[in-house]
């Protein structure tokens, strides 16, 4: 039942690096802070052009966040680039106290999030970031779906003048965002307007949700698809519309379901318009396997998305 569409796929790290260079050329306050991750963050070109503005503190993530906070204090706009698990988890207290509580405009860029480091195992999976960062106040939590949204998120964050956490996907994905659609932080992107069931998702799973919706449409089930690229602040209006206008909601995320996107949607739904939901996502420490193997393992295959939606409207 997987799509027969042969689409070109993208690794968002490329646009991430290109956008930072573009920004740095225009604004000398843009700096990058990282942890021995110049290569894995694709920052070699940035380093060549702006050697002084790439601050590699070594393998020292707590220090990395503190240094970024201090740079923000000095008037810089620091982009922190680090593998997701060591950014959100390793330095969580620094993210809370040094960045969020101080309201420093630090942009935390979580490279290779979710299960994209498949075989390297749970220590290297960044699946808790939605829950952890969502629990902090005053951080905008962005989860771009494709290269366009990654670029838009970076451009927005550079001007936002507040703490931001965003994922930079490594898992190869097709483009899903229409060319001219605006990137409005805090507002869901409606990709399909169906009436029977709503698929709510984010990041790399947007393309799978779209595939699932095509299959559902073929079966006569009209499907609404929302790309929630901003997890905090959440677009309550779009969620409530889905709860009241369709018969059920399936959420799917490349993250642990405890406290993640599905939980966030459920909090809104339960309080304002209870409706049937299925919450798909990672449920426990992963076994060994590649990223795509693990997505399927945790029920995030197109087939299982279709099945879950079908169960809600049957």
């Amino acid at each position: 039942m997987t799509s027969s569409l042969q689409q070109e796929t993208f690794d968002c790290r490329k646009i991430f690096a290109e956008t930072l260079i573009e920004l740095a050329r225009q604004n000398e306050r843009i700096v990058v802070v990282c942890n021995d991750s110049v290569g894995s963050s694709n920052l070699n070109d940035f380093k060549k052009e702006f050697p002084d503005r790439l601050i590699n503190v070594g393998i020292a993530e707590q220090n990395m966040i503190g240094v970024a906070a201090g740079l923000a204090n000095s008037g810089f706009i620091p982009f922190v680039s680090c593998a997701g698990p060591f950014l959100s988890g390793r330095a969580l207290e620094q993210v809370k106290a040094d960045v969020a509580y101080n309201m420093y405009p630090v942009i935390l860029c979580a490279q290779s999030p979710g299960v994209s480091y498949g075989e390297l195992g749970p220590t290297h999976h960044s699946i808790e970031d939605f829950s952890w960062i969502r629990a902090l106040t005053d951080i905008t939590l962005l989860s771009p779906a494709d290269p366009k949204q990654t670029k838009d998120a970076i451009l927005w964050a550079a001007k936002a003048n507040k703490p931001v956490y965003m994922r930079v996907n490594r898992f190869k994905i097709p483009k899903t965002t229409p060319e001219h659609s605006p990137f409005e932080v805090g507002k869901a992107l409606v990709l399909k307007k169906g009436k029977d069931v709503t698929l709510i998702t984010t990041g790399i799973l947007v393309s799978r949700a779209l595939e699932a919706s095509s299959i559902l449409e073929e079966q006569g089930i009209s499907t609404r698809v929302l790309n929630i690229h901003t997890i905090n602040p959440l677009d309550k209006e779009a969620i409530l519309a889905a709860a009241s206008e369709t018969r059920g909601i399936v959420t799917m995320e490349e993250a642990i379901t405890t406290g993640g996107l599905g939980a966030a949607v459920a909090e809104v739904v339960v309080e304002h318009h209870p409706t049937k939901m299925r919450i798909l996502g990672v449920s426990h420490f992963a076994p060994t396997g590649s990223a795509s193997f693990l997505l399927d393992h945790f029920g995030l295959s197109v087939e299982n998305i279709v099945k879950s939606a079908y169960e809600l409207v049957r």
Partner: protein
């Protein structure tokens, strides 16, 4: 099979030769394992091989068929990305069958990219995020003291890994508590993931740093079994000990040695053949 301590005494020529033969076999296992999986961290695997071989086949007390034996020496590979080296050593030490190395990083395998104690008995701690091994080792050593046991704890660290502050929190405490049953071994290959350690966040003078935290520090050639065994097996001195083991990242294969890109590059089929040739004749 039990630990070979006693079988392989130190200062014995034949036995030192035996250790280097084991190390050559381990390096071949590592290349084959990584080539098959098309993933792994070969540079650091090769720099740490002789340290692991010394510990598992010359120094430590353990029973691979009874991995939870209470009196065993504890071993923690803090630089957990070098799991292929550890698995190869553990297979040879009898923890599991040699042919199972072929399962490295395969779907649902017990040999994941980082060691997992839920899946493989004999692993004391799941590692991978750098900077976790020494604090856990401090706990093991403290536990042994509380239980009045004479077993020792060995923690192998990467040098780049020492940039993590958690190591220094542990070092400070171990020195303060005089944990003489604890030994840290730093795989001092002078390279980290993206560059040299001294170009990134310098560590020298490394022995002085440890001494100032209350440790006995020894600097030696991390590919010399005699030097390694002498310090590893020395009696307790009232202080924790650290070995700064000077090593070569990629040791044993000419085109891998000292090249930063081989931190996690995977050999091609031809490179695999070449590597095995060099390791066989070494």
């Amino acid at each position: 099979m039990t630990g070979m301590q006693g079988v392989l005494g130190k200062n014995d020529k034949d036995r030192l030769l035996k250790l280097s033969q084991i190390a050559a076999e381990i390096r071949i296992d590592i290349v084959n394992t990584i080539a098959a999986a098309k993933m792994g961290h070969i540079g650091g695997d090769f720099s740490v091989t002789d340290i692991l071989v010394s510990l598992f086949f010359g120094v430590m007390n353990y029973k691979s068929q009874e991995p939870h034996w209470a009196d065993r020496d504890r071993f923690i590979l803090s630089k957990g990305h070098c799991s292929a080296a550890l698995y190869s050593v553990m297979a040879k030490a009898g923890y599991f069958k040699h042919e199972q190395l072929g399962e490295f990083m395969q779907p649902l395998s017990f040999l994941g990219g980082h060691p997992n104690r839920r899946k493989l008995a004999g692993i004391e701690a799941n590692t991978g995020p750098l900077g976790h091994g020494l604090p856990i080792g401090v706990g093991c050593a403290t536990g042994a003291k509380l239980a009045k046991k004479t077993c020792r704890t060995f923690v192998v660290l990467g040098d780049g890994e020492l940039q993590e502050g958690s190591n220094w929190e542990a070092a400070m405490y171990a020195g303060h508590r005089k944990l003489e049953n604890l030994m840290a071994i730093v795989d001092r290959n002078r390279l980290q993931q993206g560059a040299g350690t001294e170009d990134t966040n310098a560590l020298d003078p490394l022995p002085d740093k440890w001494r100032s935290f209350g440790w006995d520090a020894y600097e030696l050639d991390g590919h010399n079994f005699q030097e390694l065994l002498e310090v590893m097996d020395a009696p307790f001195t009232g202080k924790p000990k650290v070995i700064i083991a000077n090593t070569i990242k990629g040791k044993g294969v000419s085109f891998i040695e000292n090249r930063v890109e081989w931190h996690h590059k995977v050999p091609s089929a031809e490179q695999n053949v070449q590597a095995i040739k060099e390791l066989t004749h070494s």
